[in-house]
Amino acid sequence: MEDEVIKKFLYVNRKAPYGTIYALESLEVVLIGAAFDQDVSLAFIDDGVYQLKKDQKTSVDSGIGMKDFSKTYLALGDYDVNKIYVDKASLDERGLTADDLMELVYEDEDDDYKEKSSISIVNQDELALLMEQQDVVLSF
């Protein structure tokens, strides 16, 4: 029985990509975790919202000499990771809107496989409520 427990996992991302590895290695946990059939949500707060910025451009041989790993976020929908919450206040103070973010989508199998957005831009009360409902919060 114990192995069939479904827990609510929240991944909280608050750091910018490239300056530190947390964004990349957090994503690696999410991808591995997707195999465990848990109830997974991702939150992007503070500089974490920059992880979802579109048009990232670097490679091992050019730019800053690090690979662009942002394409991996686009695959999250295929892994059934489609509850992605972005803190509106964090976007606002950085002058960003939904249009600046990558389009992360998934196919809703309960709705004739329609393509839907995985991203919800939420206010802090909604996000605080989401946090309260979690069993496990992994912070990066």
């Binding site: 114990e2 427990v5 827990k7 996992f9 590895i21 947390y22 290695e25 690696e28 946990v29 591995i32 975790g33 195999a35 465990f36 848990q38 069993d135 496990v136 919060v137 992994l138 912070s139 990066f140």
Partner: protein, 130 residues
Amino acid sequence: MKFGILVNEGPYQHQASDSAYQFTKAALEKGHEIFRVFFYHDGVYNASRLLVPPQDDRHIANRWSALSKEYKLDLVVCIAAAQRRGMLDENEAKRQGKDAHNIAEGFHISGLGQLIEAGIQSERLVVFGD
């Protein structure tokens, strides 16, 4: 109660590993169970057998090893994070064609799934990082 512990930073540079150790020790002394301590990011460096701290300082890897021995603690080092940072056990060293390995007694290398499992099986997961 059953705790899982996640350590995200290496020894000495940040206090994370020290705080995680003090927390883990206090939890065990209170009779709680520690399902697993998982070392991720630079946390993998805590598992080095080659640390030579000054004589009057704590030995962070040995301290974890000793606690592991006393309480049969499960100390797991993330393989992906460890490879990237040059932390290898004997098997990994062989597999990667490396001429040395550096994992201390009591630690073992495994996949990120062990972290997820710690989240599922523990009643609480506590994260120590930067």
